[in-house]
Symmetry: C2
Subunit: 309 residues, 2 copies
């Protein structure tokens, strides 16, 4: 692969509390603000508590999921009296950290999330981005306290709905398992380490170090599976099967149990072999997602260094 040169990455935004009950990011951002951590060598850092009202209420959101508000269409919707708190906030964040797709946007936007699923530390990003893959590779090599994986959602950037799409480059760090509303030190420590390693990588990159190319395994979202539900009431009639629970990223084969109904029957996986993730994520009950399924691919990325003017 060709070698790539990219302008310096000097302006970084670190966001937490995009979902108000995912506590690691909330406390990491608050601690950075308390320490007035605004500059690390060549990197200037903006810290943002994305949804302060949801953080205050310790809920995912107040009116609508903030992290589904960052499509081009929603960001350009005029504000009216009936506009939700979160869409207003999305447009404010877009003005502060973007505008999305513009030269003024921050160079890198990191959004800090937790999941109740047993996913370890996952990078989530949209279309192929060499910066993200290099940072991912750097963290994966150095962080040893839990598995580190990367998930690609193959969505055009205009339709990308989450906060990290506002930066020139961006990704979400998703760490679990952690219950909503709970702060676990092990999860906090892993997220903090990933953040520190990201800033360390940016400093090295800005200083002129060339990072060699290579390849990584990535999980590409294929489809989602909902819970079995009562057709009349929409209520669940089954839970994730104990043999699937906590087994995120373990290959699911046809015939493997996926649900246990409340009356005791087992529902089995049908169709192709795929990798489940976000298994039993708290916030996805209302989104009708019991788990996602992914295909594993190998992504090749080029060597990279900073382009000076």
């Amino acid at each position: 692969m060709e070698h790539v040169s990219v302008p310096p990455l000097s302006r970084v935004a670190v966001c937490g509390g995009t979902h108000g009950n995912e506590m690691s990011g909330v406390y990491i951002v608050r601690e950075m603000q308390r320490q007035k951590l605004e500059k690390a060598e060549s990197v200037s850092i903006t810290t943002v508590l994305s949804n302060p009202r949801a953080v205050e209420a310790c809920r995912r959101y107040i009116e609508t999921d903030l992290n589904r508000c960052f499509t081009d269409a929603l960001l350009s919707t005029p504000i009216t009296d009936s506009t939700s708190y979160e869409l207003r906030r999305a447009q404010e964040l877009n003005a502060q950290l973007g505008p999305k797709g513009s030269e003024e946007a921050v160079d890198l936007l990191l959004d800090l999330h937790n999941t109740t699923a047993n996913m370890g530390l996952s990078f989530i990003f949209y279309s192929l981005d060499w910066i993200t893959l290099h940072i991912y590779k750097y963290i994966q090599t150095k962080l040893t306290s839990m598995p580190v994986r990367v998930i690609q959602l193959d969505i055009p950037i205009s339709e990308a709905y989450s906060l990290e799409s506002v930066g020139k480059h961006g990704f979400a760090i998703e760490v679990g398992p952690q219950p909503t509303g709970v702060l676990r030190a092990d999860i906090f420590n892993a997220m903090k380490e990933a953040l520190d390693l990201t800033i360390e990588w940016l400093q090295k990159f800005n200083s002129g170090i060339t990072f060699g190319g290579g390849e990584v395994e990535a999980y590409v979202l294929v489809k989602s599976v909902d819970y079995p539900r009562d057709p009349m009431t929409g209520e669940l009639t089954a839970a994730i099967h104990p043999q699937l629970q906590d087994n995120d990223f373990k290959l699911l084969r046809p015939g493997d149990p996926i649900f246990q109904s409340f009356s005791g029957e087992t529902v089995k996986h049908e169709g192709e072999e795929l990798y489940p993730f976000f298994i039993n994520e708290c916030a996805y009950y209302e989104k009708k997602v019991a788990f996602h399924l992914a295909r594993k691919v190998t992504l090749t990325f080029p060597s990279i260094n900073v382009k000076r003017d």
Copy 2:
């Protein structure tokens, strides 16, 4: 110890959703209602979804914690326009299943709860009650999927604030770890097994079987410990230490780490050796409880059988 004879225990109430985001009880009660399970031999069963509005919203409560509303004082407070939804509901439940302390009250009230703490299956009850201890012993002997323990809150029944105090006998079953808003099959299965064993014990008791006396180890609440907080803002400055997290009921000795501050310092336990439980329970952040501490005691209970008129 003397032998004890007790009138038949024919009327049982099984309550779930007293906290609307503790999902095992919600789904167990719904499934019992779907199956119209109202009678099991000599035992008539009333199933109750205690806080339907909180269940609907998937929150612990709407205005105030329902499971702190069952003191004699609150149950006799006149209803006004400003009375909270939960206190109204508490008085309704007291009318339906009690009144507390009266002859009309159900014979046994079981309230189903979850915790985010790694507590296995815990019985929680107020003052000494041979029925509760016998049922506990029965379940402890038969349930093998997780540790089974009993916790005594030494509070006079008039000041007992939780729903189970409305029955002639009563206890809460608290099963974890499970995130709020999430249903895990392993936790559901353990709670369902404990409930089935309780009803099995009641049938045997009502049929005239004598249960021998014995002793059990119990944990008696001594005190609670709050998180370190910023004195100005009240915000946390530390998380539960990784060496304490998930180690409920493991003896805590002076010098053992209990908190890890966000800037990295360790806070250690001071004072006597005690047993921690409800470590990092989600709902207790607002109650200013990082964990409870208990003393372990041995309770002796007499043999028991049914008293016929």
